[in-house]
């Protein structure tokens, strides 16, 4: 029985320009890349754009793929740079980010239907507050809160020390708590 090729094997083939192997790598990581982009840019269409462009750029440079390093680490470096550029590119985009909304959803419907509007309002305010965070704080906050990564996993993905992860996270949470002071 044939076994699934490992990520390393796929990367070796992708480095030679094998589209099928690269496609398998994309299929494995596209959901995660989309979610990470969504956390940065805050809208479905832009998250698709940013995540697909990140994979396309990696493929354009497929000869420099290093099979000894995790594939997603490389994709994420490209993705975050595209995401940051997207945010900084136009001031209006930040406003768009704040007003886009709808990228978060309640895990469970409130047991009391009369509270649905209130819960939706809370969620919308949280989205706006997250959109107002500085990019690097928002990035870490999203990876921690919505992706559930551990500090060391975030540190490895971003190439920063654990302490930096925690201090940016504290800063993000404190800023959010301040912005949401009246409703928390």
């Amino acid at each position: 029985m044939a076994t699934e090729p490992s990520e390393r094997e796929l990367m070796i083939r992708a480095r030679r320009g094998d589209r099928e192997a690269f496609g398998a790598l994309v299929t494995t990581h596209m959901h995660r890349a989309y979610r990470h982009a969504l956390g940065l840019v805050g809208s479905h269409d832009d998250a698709l754009d940013v995540s697909q462009e990140a994979f396309a750029r990696v493929f354009r440079h497929h000869r420099s793929l290093d099979p000894e390093r995790p594939f997603y680490g490389l994709v994420y470096q490209v993705l975050r740079r595209l995401g940051f550029n997207w945010i900084r590119d136009r001031r209006s985009r930040r406003q768009k980010l704040e007003s886009s909304g709808g990228w978060l959803v309640e895990r469970q419907r409130p047991p009391d239907p009369s509270r649905e509007a209130e819960v939706a309002d809370l969620r919308a305010r949280l989205e706006v507050a997250i959109a107002r965070l500085p990019e690097r704080e928002r990035e870490i906050f999203v990876l921690k809160e919505f992706e559930g990564l551990k500090y060391r996993e975030i540190a490895a993905l971003l190439g920063v020390p654990n302490g930096t992860v925690m201090s940016r996270l504290f800063s993000a949470r404190r800023s959010l708590a301040k912005q949401l002071e009246g409703i928390l």
Binding site: V26, F59, Q77, M166, R173, R174, L176
Partner: protein, 147 residues
């Protein structure tokens, strides 16, 4: 608030406190009012963020995802070829037009001078913009984020 206290708050909130840290955290909770207030505030925020998650896109999105990545790769190549061809053609055309104009005796000197001024001005603007972009790149705080 000290860095140590911030670190303890984060670890406690995310369930990553080690044995000794838990004792230190609990001691701070009992003795430091500001620490206690911050803890309660961050716990309420955590409750709110735990109640939401990413909105999942429809499944059809993933079916065409890979095709879209390849289309982007192809378009990138197409843009590079198009740009190189256009730059060569436009430069050659301008060079030939300039040469023809300046050897033509019927054109008044001030027309020749004005055309020359337009080209020199354009070139200065181009160099200025390129220099500014380069300067911005050097000061870019994200330039360390490389592929």
């Amino acid at each position: 608030m000290t860095e140590r206290a911030q670190l303890l708050l984060m670890r406690a909130l995310d369930g990553e406190l080690a044995g000794d840290e838990r004792k230190e955290f609990e001691r701070l909770l009992q003795t430091d009012t500001a620490f206690n207030v911050e803890w309660e505030r961050l716990k309420r925020l955590k409750g709110l963020t735990d109640s939401v998650t990413f909105r999942t896109p429809p499944d059809e999105i993933w079916e065409g995802y890979m095709d879209s990545v390849y289309r982007r790769v192809e378009r990138g190549v197409a843009w590079i070829l198009l740009s190189i061809g256009a730059i060569v053609l436009v430069s050659t055309g301008l060079w030939e037009a300039g040469k023809a104009l300046f050897i033509e005796d019927d054109v008044a000197w001030y027309i020749k001078g004005s055309i020359l001024a337009v080209f020199v001005g354009g070139a200065i603007l181009l160099v200025s913009v390129a220099r500014e972009k380069l300067f911005m790149h050097r000061r870019d705080p994200y330039k360390d984020v490389t592929r």
